[in-house]
Amino acid sequence: MAQAMSAHLALVRVDYGYKYIKQIWFLVPPPCAGRNRCRCIGIFVVGIIFWGGFNTAMEATNSTEFCIGCHEMENNVYQEYKPTIHYSNRTGVRAGCPDCHVPRPWIHKVVRKIKASRELFYWATGKIDTPEKFEEHRLDLAKSVWSAMKTTDSRECRNCHNFESMNPEFQKPRARKQHMNSFETGQTCIDCHKGIAHHNVRDQLTDEELEAIEAPDPKYVREIPKEYLEGLARVEAKEAAMAAEAKAKMKRPLSVLLLR
């Protein structure tokens, strides 16, 4: 009796395993039995290897080191990025090439990688292989990144930055004001933050292009995060107290002077 029980349990377990495989691979072989069962497990294992291999290969192309493997990137955009805050800063967090230029969600990442394979062709044909050629195409390259950012609500900026964790307490009044405006009118990061990691060529856009790429988009209007409002209230209270203190210190009766 005890033996029969354990055999039954084993069978159930294999069954579950099979269902699981079915869900992932959409393979619908007849119910496994004997050698077929081994074949199923084989496909499962090979699948994992391919899947893992595919992702590993994709990830291998997803590092700053890989990106600057081409001298086009190493000599131009990489050198420009090195003195910027995204490369080196107080807190030691670095945003490498893929952090800003490759989407995080898997499906968008694959699409981006497929598109990027075109770059291999340009690399092979030497489209931007001298600094002069690079400069010639810089504006187009920048424009394509800017418009991608604009259509995704600056998704790659938001890999690291987001409005919920942004605290206006640590921002200058100008930035506070501008971020408030951006919530209300529907602006996205890239509208204002262009040319922050590479030479800025915003000036080369025509008035029409500039208007199109920087116009607020009602789609991106968002509620002001609670955290943001709280930070704003804190800093405004702090500043009001400081202003009152300064005023109290400087106040000298004007009448004394006038009645001399």
């Binding site: 200058k172 009044p173 100008r174 501008q178 405006n181 500039l210 607020p216 004007l254 002077l257």
Partner: protein, 297 residues
């Protein structure tokens, strides 16, 4: 204004919508001033650098009134002399170590509510990048209607039919030559579209009262009394001005209203455009909403 409303100014969109300069820049005038005078601004704002020039001047303003007069006291520290390399002797206006001017306007004037004096400054004013050639000024038929002897002066948007902001195909920025008809200008004056202006020259100890509309005129107002002194390195300028005026070009200051106020200092014998200009502030009587609140005593 052409720069403020142009593509290089990060605050253009918000300014156009109604945000005031002080909301964004009120706390950073020192930084911006330094960027400008040192030529380090990425915006390439100042081609004629004066070595050692200070970028900003912290000024304290005290204000009070007694129902008849408005009293304003400006205090600030005198700076070291920074000789101007492109002027013989290093002083642009050797007679006057200091000149102080302020403007008052109602919200009737476009941009006065957010820009103060900056609203009157244009890219084609004298010594500005698009200042017209002397000959062009002499030949202009507008010479009969404007005093162009010292170049183009400050003017309001309301006085022109068009002001070039984009400068496409090499067009000069500004609109000095697009003066509206005399009838339109009279109507604008009647609609309070002018900025009242008082200026004090320390050397000549002279007070002038005028206004800005189609151009800057230095006469026509009720005037003011000014007492200025430089003691122990601190300038003190006390202005006494009647609250109410019946003169054209003057703004009468009444309780319960906010007025737009801006001031400028020609520090260290400077002249023309080489002055320190405040952002636009609000002036009122007994109202702490205003940055410059004249409290009755």
């Amino acid at each position: 204004m052409e720069w403020i409303l142009g593509r290089k100014h990060g605050g253009k969109r918000a300014f156009t919508k109604g945000d005031r300069c002080v909301e964004c820049h009120g706390e950073e005038t020192e930084t911006i001033g330094q960027l400008i005078v040192s030529g380090e601004s990425e915006k390439e704002l100042e081609p004629n650098l004066i070595p050692g020039k200070r970028g900003s001047i912290p000024v304290t303003i005290n204000a009070t009134h007694d129902d008849e007069y408005l009293y304003l006291r400006f205090n600030w520290a005198d700076g070291d002399h920074a000789p101007v390399p492109f002027v013989e002797g290093g002083k642009m206006d050797p007679e006057n170590p200091m000149k102080l001017a302020f403007m008052v306007a109602t919200d009737e004037v476009e941009y006065a509510d957010r820009a103060g004096c900056w609203g009157t400054c244009h890219a084609d004013a004298d010594e500005m990048p698009f200042a017209p050639e002397n000959q062009a000024l002499k030949d202009s038929e507008l010479a009969a209607r404007l005093d162009l002897s010292a170049g183009v002066t400050k003017y309001l948007t309301e006085s022109r039919t068009k002001i070039e902001l984009k400068g496409r195909r090499g067009k000069a920025l500004g609109g000095w030559d697009k003066l509206k008809s005399e009838g339109d200008l009279t109507a604008a004056m009647a609609a309070n579209q002018y900025m009242d202006l008082v200026r004090y020259k320390s050397g000549a100890d002279e007070v002038e009262d005028g206004q800005i509309m189609a151009e800057r005129t230095m006469h026509g107002g009720q005037g003011a009394e000014v007492e200025a002194s430089l003691k122990a390195g601190t300038w003190s300028v006390v202005v006494k001005r009647k609250l109410k005026s019946d003169q054209p070009g003057d703004v009468s200051i009444e309780p319960g209203k906010l007025y737009n106020f801006g001031f400028a200092i020609h520090d260290d014998f400077t002249n023309g455009r080489y002055h320190h200009v405040s952002l636009g502030y609000k002036l009122a009587l007994d109202d702490d909403q205003a940055e410059i609140n004249a409290v009755k005593q």
